[in-house]
């Protein structure tokens, strides 16, 4: 087993996704914690705006579930420099996901032990009902995400796995709702079967096992240059990513949103 991971390292959706994107980038970012000048460009400006707007929407929805008056939230959204936020909030308030129910936990973190390793999930909203568990995730993508892609995303697997394991829900069905603020009428909903949950556990366990078994020189650079597009270590690797790759854009946006 490799001992290069920092002691007490907590695996999460974002670092596992980063590993899947590029092993070398994972090592620089999470093991060596190397600060490096990110390539900045006009494209990064929209990246920053998207991050700020996405983060604001998450904060407003969080406050909504904490019981803050919707009118005050509207005033804050209207005063926010990016007009999308106000629009997104209105759509959220009009959606069925804004219903306030007992046992809802906004911006809630849960951690489980998985084969001796810690695995963390940060839920946008977790609803622990007596007979079901619902996970909600708010998204602010520019394009509607593909259902198949979402199903295979590390996030989907980690969230479902942690929700099941941390809340003793062997008998309760678990479902996950991806709600897109720009496509409010097209939520993507997953209802996980017991077999899917077993598969998720296996996939994530294997992924963690792979990370832990690698020696430093096995954290190799990705061969898929799409993943380099928004990586801060482009110049470290003397690489230029393929621009305009929406998938890479979304991956890094999500990682950024979760880690900030």
């Amino acid at each position: 087993m490799s001992e290069i991971l920092p002691r007490g390292f907590v695996f999460s959706q974002s670092n596992l996704q980063a590993f899947q994107n590029c092993r070398f980038s994972f090592m620089l970012r999470y093991i060596r914690k190397l600060p490096w000048p990110s390539p900045l460009s006009a494209r990064s400006a929209s990246f920053e705006l998207d991050q700020a707007a996405g983060s604001m929407l998450h904060s407003l929805i969080h406050q909504y579930f904490l019981g803050i008056d919707a009118e005050l939230l509207r005033s804050c959204a209207e005063a926010f420099p990016d007009a999308r936020v106000s629009r997104w909030l209105e759509r959220f308030l009009a959606s069925p996901y804004s219903e306030i129910l007992p046992n809802q936990y906004p911006e809630h973190s849960q951690q489980i032990a998985l084969g001796g390793n810690l695995l963390l999930a940060k839920f946008d909203l977790l609803h622990l009902d007596d007979d079901a568990i619902q996970i909600c995730d708010w998204k602010t993508s520019r394009i509607l995400l593909n259902r198949v892609r979402l199903q295979n995303r590390i996030q989907t697997m980690v969230y479902a796995l942690v929700a099941v394991s941390a809340n003793d829900s062997k008998t309760r069905p678990v479902s996950m709702y991806y709600w897109e603020a720009d496509f409010p009428d097209n939520p993507i909903i997953f209802e996980f079967s017991p077999q899917q949950l077993i598969d998720f556990r296996k996939t994530i366990t294997n992924l963690i096992h792979t990370i832990k078994s690698l020696s430093p020189d096995e954290f190799i650079r990705t061969t898929n240059l799409n993943h380099c597009s928004y990586c801060e270590y482009q110049t470290y690797c003397s690489r230029v990513g393929i621009p305009k790759d929406e998938q890479a854009y979304q991956d890094w946006l999500e990682i950024g949103l979760l880690e900030n």
Binding site: L34, W36, S38, P39, L40, L60, H62, I68, T235, Y236
Partner: protein, 625 residues
């Protein structure tokens, strides 16, 4: 606590907005760092200075701004209205001679405090107009609005069931107030404090307020057994706290404190001796990480020289640096010098030597002499470089002295700078300069991890700086870059902050300022105390516009701060520092002094006198006995 406060204010900004404290309550908050707060304070104070305020005070602008902010912070963390600052300071001032050095006469001193009040009032008003939140305002909003709010309390109290709160003695009283109220609703709480602490009193730490938390506890335990120090060191600890002066046997004293047979005359000799002693200790089996070299202040040359000598002897060195001076960082200087050439609208062209140094770092084979020759062709009358000259425009006798490959790289850099967009944001510019030029083969940052890290931190520093400023619609990219560069040159942005407690270097001999070492709470076998004669071991910083002991919850209103208070404080500080160091020593202390200090003067502070008296009396006793 400060990070919790910031996070909670950001999350519950809407609740605060509802109170309409700010002029634009629903617009997002603009959090200020210490540096950006100083920047805005400068916007307020500079016009006041132009109108003759603060005329009696001789202080650098940075120290003036930081003391004004310190006053605001004290009012928030102690819990009194900032509008009473001048009254409090005036009441405690006794007009003694030492203060007159600063103020010229009594009336001017009174005026200075009135100026303080004027400045902090104006700063606060400006913050409220523009949604700017310095630390003091964050604390006031948190304690005054959020902590009192039911929605917030409902959220906060469900977040945590148990609390472990360590180093309570290093926190100001508002934290103790919060903890006291918080623990009522927790399932369990454990508060830990060190009675010998309160090292950050000058920053508002209040150990008396911390100890009051024990009165609300169900169980209070006191641990007074020393598991670290050997008996001779424990005897010295006891001696320090004893009054009247208690003698120690020479055998005990010599086992605890080591003094050289002969005192070196000059500081470099002392450093040589210290390195010799450390080498011997390491050769005799002491692990290098069990040795610490400590001084009240740590200058860069001192760290450099010790590191160099120890490194030469094959001994690893660690330094504890809370911050790294921006202006002292060659990579940062290089990038910013090149930026000042690329942004002529800033109207702050670099001088010849600055540009020469930057070119030599950017292009390693372009030595300072050649870059000097090259630049001399383009300097203005005031020795400034406004643009890099074209190689082909140089006289032949100079151009032939520049190797072809170097000329090619110079031209690459020159043309890249010349073609850069003057409206490009500074962080984008730096990022491109790094990736397009400086990190490319043959340039100075190529394959240098340190250069990459420094550049990344510079970008981060700029991005933090621009965050509150960029909310102003008139603040375009050119303005933001200019303000950053100007603030940096004026010393407002003095440091590149590293993560907390960052230890630089592999495990080895620790070179650290005394206070930083104490806060690390890590025992070592051998401590080398340098600059024994320095007053830095006990004297508080000179702060004519603020006063950490008067602006304190324990200060009795109406009392005067006298010279006796100052002397008493110096003795108390020294005693607390020495006890703290000795409690973290599991072997011996090496007392190191030279006739002339690091600064070249003869210093005879309290620590040196104490050590000399201790040994003199022990020797006398030994000879008599």
């Amino acid at each position: 606590m400060s990070s919790i406060i910031r996070r909670m204010i950001a999350l519950f900004w809407t609740l605060i907005a509802g109170h309409k404290v700010f002029q634009h309550p629903f617009e997002p908050p603009r959090f200020l760092t210490l540096e950006t707060a100083q920047y805005y304070m400068a916007q307020i104070v500079d016009p006041l200075i132009d109108r003759g305020h603060f005329a009696a005070i001789t202080l650098t602008r940075n120290r003036l701004f930081s003391q004004l902010l310190d006053n605001l912070n004290k009012s928030a963390i102690v819990g009194f209205p900032h509008t009473t600052l001048a009254r409090r300071l005036k009441t405690a001032w006794n007009g003694d001679a030492s203060q007159l050095v600063v103020y010229d006469d009594v009336q001017l001193a009174v005026n200075a405090y009135d100026d303080v009040q004027l400045a902090v009032n104006a700063f606060r008003a400006y913050c409220l107009e523009n949604n700017l939140l310095d630390f003091s305002l964050q604390v006031e909003l948190f304690c005054g609005i959020l902590w009192q709010n039911n929605t917030f309390q409902k959220y906060f109290q469900t977040q945590y069931q148990h609390l472990i709160y360590d180093n309570a003695e290093e926190d100001p009283p508002y934290v103790h107030d919060i903890v006291k109220s918080w623990t009522k609703n927790l399932e369990s709480s454990l508060v830990i404090m060190d009675e010998g602490g309160g090292l950050r009193s000058f920053l508002g730490a209040d150990p008396i307020s911390a100890s009051a938390l024990s009165t609300t506890a169900d169980i209070a335990l006191r641990f007074d057994q020393n598991f670290v120090s050997p008996p001779p060191i424990q005897a010295v600890i006891e001696q320090i706290s004893s009054t009247p002066f208690q003698k120690l046997p020479l055998s005990t004293l010599s086992a605890a404190l080591l003094i050289p047979q002969a005192q070196p005359r000059f500081f470099p000799e002392l450093l040589y001796n210290v390195c010799q002693e450390i080498s011997e200790l390491v050769q005799n089996g002491t692990p290098a990480h069990e040795i610490a070299v400590l001084s009240p202040f740590l200058s860069d040359p001192l760290v450099f020289e010790l590191s160099r000598r120890l490194g030469k002897a094959g001994i690893p060195v660690q330094t504890l640096r809370p911050s790294l001076a921006l202006n002292a960082n060659p990579h940062v200087q290089t990038v910013l010098t090149l930026a000042s050439l690329a942004y002529p609208a800033w109207q702050m062209p670099p001088d010849l030597f600055q540009t020469q140094a930057a070119l030599s770092i950017a292009i390693p084979r372009l030595d300072p002499l050649r870059s000097h020759l090259l630049l001399k062709q383009a300097i203005s009358d005031d020795n400034r470089v406004t643009t890099l000259p074209l190689i082909e425009d140089l006289p032949e006798e100079i151009s032939v002295r520049i190797p072809q490959d170097v000329a090619h790289r110079y031209e690459t850099l020159r043309s890249w700078l010349a073609s850069s967009d003057p409206d490009e944001p500074l962080d984008y510019f730096i990022s491109r300069l790094f990736s397009d030029v400086l990190s490319q083969p043959g340039f100075g940052f190529a394959e240098s991890q340190l250069a990459g890290e420094d550049t990344a931190r510079l970008i981060e520093s700029y991005q933090k700086f621009k965050l509150p400023l960029s909310a102003d619609p008139q603040a375009d990219a050119s303005f933001l870059g200019k303000e950053y560069y100007r603030s940096l040159r004026q010393g407002l942005l003095s440091a590149l902050y590293l993560p907390d407690d960052e230890i630089v270097g592999e495990p080895g001999v620790l070179i650290s300022p005394v206070m930083t070492f104490l806060m690390q709470n890590r025992p070592v076998r051998h401590q080398f105390w340098l600059n024994l004669g320095s007053k830095g071991w006990y004297e508080r910083l000179e702060q004519p516009l603020t006063h950490p002991y008067v602006l304190n919850r324990q200060w009795q209103s109406g009392k005067k701060w006298t010279t006796d208070n100052e002397v008493e404080l110096a003795h108390f500080n020294l005693q607390r520092t020495l006890s703290g160091l000795l409690l973290r020593c599991s072997g011996q202390v090496h007392l190191c002094s030279s006739t002339y200090s690091e600064g070249g003067t003869e210093e005879r502070g309290l620590l040196l006198t104490w050590a000399q008296n201790l040994f003199r009396s022990a020797l006398r006793e030994d000879q008599n006995g």
